[in-house]
Each structure stands twice: as C-alpha cells, then as structure tokens.
C-alpha cells in the first residue's frame, strides 16, 4: 500500500513546464530517494504535495488525502523543505514553540526533538547565528515535532559535515525501520545510496525511473570483452538482446548481463575472447546516464 501517491502531476510556470505528467508512489517502512539534478522539478513536486503550491493538473496525496485536507497535518506529515525558513531573531526553542502552539503539540516535544537532532545545547541561541548544518538539524526537528508517520525532507544532507551525514543516514534508516514513510530528495545519488531502499528518478519534470536501489545497482554491472572484431561481437550481442557499447575496434561493454552470456555468445559466433572482465559502474555515472536519456530502466 502506498502512502504518498503522485498521479499525472503537472505544474506549469508560464512557458516552463516544471513537472510533466509525473506519477509515482512511496511506500511505508522504507526510505525512498527522490532523485534528479537541480531544476528537475523535485522541490516543485514536494511543494505541491505539501499544499504550498497548486498543481496545473493531476494530484498529489498523502494517505489518499490532499495535504490541505489533512485534519491534523503535523501529526501525520513532517516536512523540512529547506534550511532557511526561520526568523533569524528567534531561538530554536522559540521557533519550534510557535509551530507547536499552532499545531496543538505539547511544548515538551520541543525539548525532545531538539535533543533528538543534537541541538539541545544551542536551543536558546538566535537562529541567525546558526551554521547551515545546524539549520538543517533545526528543519528536521520541526519535521519530527508532531511524531508523524510520514517524513518528507528536501535535500536534508546539504550542508552537513561527514559526521552529520552519517548521523542523518542512521536517523532516516531508524525512522523507516519504525514503519514510517520517508521520502528524501537529493541531486546526488551517492549521497543517499547508503540510505535509500527505493528510488524515484526525475529529470526535466518527468519520471525517469521508479525502482529499488538494488535493481538500479544491477544495471550498473558492466561486462567488458576484448576480441578481434568488436563491431561483429557488438552485433552478435545486440541480436541476443544484450545492451552494448562499442569502446574501440577491439573492445565492447555489455550492460545488464554477465560474463557467461557474453562469452557464450562470442563462442557461438566463432569470435575469440582475448579478455573478459566484469566491473560495477559507480552509481553516480549510472544516475547521470539515466537523467540524460542514455539508458532506460524498467519501472
């Protein structure tokens, strides 16, 4: 059962199509990465999902309901859209107490979430003096305030130091392990690769892939073969339904298959294999290929 459901969502700003007929689902108990380069339409999609912007067409719902119709939104959905939504003159405690007052959340939660995100010692300081990493933590504290079942975080790792990134990854994993739905956007796949179970990849407002990280990683396996006539080997592999790329006159790279299949296909065509190796392309290259229409991944 999906908790977040985006269906044929379109958002147009004048001539610019920011989100183009986008559909995907996000499931509970998992961390879902919402990935795409800057300007892909991730933040626009999240803003519509959170009722901050209206869609031109389509819908985005949480538990089957539009955010604006949720009876008690902060207890159901916690969101951190960016790290700069604070009055610089208020302290972290004051900022969270304002939100808690509006949502009817007991003030003791303020101390609890500040503790949880590691800001207890800076709670009384004015936010204007906070570093980017501290603001990220405060944004997250705001999202956790209502102890919600759904968390929507836009680029939560931005500005965090390595220790902070490790901490955030652990927190996201533990929140998902508690059965919560966690949607995390990022423009860097490697940044979230250790954290996410599923990925929704977006480019130019369109869905490129909606799959598991494991499946995405499977596509990153490359088998490289050196032979006497690479062009012929490429034709043979293509005929066998294997995706190939010609590296040079003697070398081809096959993707999404294994060495056995390449070796057997070459033998069947009477082509000698001079060298056969398998390696994993790094996820960032795969992500880059994906968003540049170089490769297709089945949904």
């Amino acid at each position: 059962m999906s908790v977040i459901s985006v269906s044929h969502l379109t958002k147009r700003y004048g001539q610019v199509l920011a989100v183009d007929d986008l559909s995907f689902d996000v499931h509970p108990g998992k961390v879902t990465g919402f990935l795409g380069p800057n300007g892909a339409g991730k933040t626009t999609t999240l803003r519509i999902l959170l009722g901050l912007a209206d869609p031109t067409a389509g819908s985005a719902t949480i538990g089957g309901v539009e955010y604006r119709r949720l009876p008690d939104p902060l207890r159901q959905v916690g969101a951190a859209l960016d790290s700069d939504t604070f009055h610089p003159g208020r302290s972290a405690t004051q900022h969270l107490k304002v939100i808690a007052a509006a949502a009817g959340i007991p003030h003791r939660r303020v101390g609890e979430v500040l503790d949880q995100v590691g800001l207890a010692n800076a709670a009384g300081r004015r936010v204007g003096g906070y570093s980017l990493g501290m603001r990220q933590r405060l944004s997250l504290a705001g999202a956790l305030l209502g102890d919600p079942g759904v968390l929507i975080l836009d680029e939560p790792l931005n500005g965090l130091d390595p220790e902070g990134i490790r901490w955030m990854r652990g927190l996201l994993r533990s929140l998902a392990a508690e059965g919560r739905t966690v949607l995390v956007s990022s423009h860097l796949l490697t940044e979230v690769a250790q954290t996410v179970d599923e990925v929704v990849v977006l480019a130019k407002g369109r869905l490129i892939a909606e799959t598991t990280l494991a499946e995405l990683a499977g596509h990153s396996s490359v088998t490289r073969a050196r032979t006497t006539d690479a062009t012929r080997l490429a034709d043979v592999l293509l005929a066998a339904g294997i995706k190939v790329r010609l590296v040079d006159g003697t070398t081809v790279e096959a993707r999404g298959t294994d060495a056995d299949a390449v070796g057997l296909a070459a033998a069947g065509a009477g082509l000698p294999i001079l060298e056969l190796s398998r390696h994993d392309e790094d996820l960032e290259t795969l992500f880059f290929d994906l968003v540049n229409d170089k490769q297709e991944v089945a949904a």
């Binding site: 912007a53 610089p88 003159g89």
Partner: protein, 249 residues
C-alpha cells in the same frame, strides 16, 4: 483547544519573540513622552498657546500618530516578515487553511494595535497630566476621551492595513518605504498643497479625524472611523485573496 485559539496563541508568540515589538514600543514611548515634554517646554512662548489652555493641551496630545505609524510598520513586519524570512512555510505546514491563518493574524494584530494605541496614548496622557499638575492645573479638555478612543481604533486599523500591505507586497522593506512615501509625499505634501479638501478622505488624513481634536479639514470621528475601517477592509480582502491563491515556497 480549537484550531483558531491555537493559531492565535502562535501569532501572539511570533509577535513577542522578535525584537520588533519591544524595540518599537520603546521608541514609541520615548517619542511620545519627548513630544509632550517639548510641547510643554515651549508653551506660552511667543506664538504658542499657554500651558493649560484647551488648544495647548490638544496640541500636546496629538500623539496618536506615533502609535498609528508604529502599528503600520508592525503590521507590515508581521505579514511581510513571514515571506521575507520564509516562516510562511512552517506556518502553512502547521495550518494549511490559509484563510484562517490570514484572518487570525489580522485579528491578533488588530487586538495588539488597540492595546498598543491605548498604552501609548495613556503614556502621553499621563505625562500631560503630570506636567499640568506640576503647574497646578487639574483640568483636561472635553475631547480627550474621544481622542483616546480614536487612537485605539486608528492603531488597530493601521495594524490591519500593515498586514494587508505586507501580505500583498511580500516585502517588508518595500512595503514600509511605500507606506511612508505615500503618507509623506502623496498625502501630506502633494495633496495637501494641490487638493487640501481631498486629503482628509485618504487613510492618513482620515486617521487624524480619530486621533486629533476637532478642527478645520478634519473629518468627524464617526465618519473618519468608517472611512478608515473601509480602507482596511478593502485592502484586507485584496490581500486575503492573493494570500489564499498564490504559491508559497
């Protein structure tokens, strides 16, 4: 606790957790007391009315404008500041019902404006009473009570006009500059010279009908109150429509 009461508590908390309110209250208090004392010091000098005369006491009590200007700025900061600092995002995430958020903010600023007007005028009146008593004068002219109530109403109205301006422009600095430019250059300088009979019908001109003693070129208090409230309502309707419709983020 119902959602409207919760929102009102959040709005009051916003008001009292930045420096704007204590700072502007302090400035308004100093300006008010200083203005009364300066008026008292020059009273009786050539060209000035004698201390204790009705006209001089009225002149000393033309302090409503201080509360009005400060409330205009605080109203702009309360609404425009949400966009400037992007706190509108957590505000609308906590309460996605935008019309309710806007209405409660307007009500809270109006209430705060009324109290603010009462405090500032009260401070001025206390200073005037003290100065007069020190000179053995124990008499206040008849219209003082009406000016007190007028200042309370005008402060509430200008707080609401400020919220409307802040929400419409989404820019605190631009809105404050535009509002002051309007009051000074459009109403006070240009219209006062070109078409003096028209000025009293405009917002700042109308407010003097509430805060100042009766006189030529000043609207009767009830008319002035109705005109000012009318401006506030029209601007609030326009601002609420854009607040409800426009994207945020």
């Amino acid at each position: 606790m119902n959602a409207t009461v919760r929102l009102a508590r959040a709005e009051f908390r916003k008001l009292f957790t930045t420096r704007a309110v204590p700072l502007s209250t302090a400035i308004a208090a100093v300006v008010t007391v200083a203005s009364v004392l300066i008026d008292a010091a020059v009273a009786g000098k050539p060209g000035q009315h004698a201390l204790g005369s009705t006209l001089e006491t009225y002149a000393m009590l033309k302090i409503g404008v201080v509360a009005v200007v400060v409330m205009l700025i605080l109203g702009i900061l309360a609404a425009g500041g949400e966009f400037r600092h992007r706190t509108i995002v957590p505000t609308l995430l906590a309460t996605p019902q935008r019309a309710r958020v806007f209405a409660v903010k307007v009500a809270v600023i109006a209430l705060f404006g009324a109290v603010f007007g009462a405090v500032i005028f009260g401070l001025g009146l206390g200073t005037v009473t003290g100065v007069l008593a020190a000179h053995g004068i124990h008499y206040l002219p008849a219209e003082v009570g009406r000016m007190y109530i007028g200042t309370v109403i005008a402060s509430a109205c200008f707080g609401m006009i400020g919220v409307a301006l802040g929400a419409l422009t989404r820019n605190t600095v631009g809105a404050i500059v535009a509002a002051i430019a309007w009051a000074l250059f459009v109403e006070e300088i240009t219209l006062n010279t070109v078409a003096p009979s028209l000025e009293k019908w405009l917002p700042v001109g109308a407010s003097t009908g509430l805060t100042n003693p009766p006189g030529p070129g000043v609207l009767a208090p009830v008319t002035a109150g109705a005109i000012l409230a009318g401006y506030a309502v029209v601007m609030l309707v326009a601002a609420s429509r854009t607040t409800i419709r426009r994207d945020v983020g």
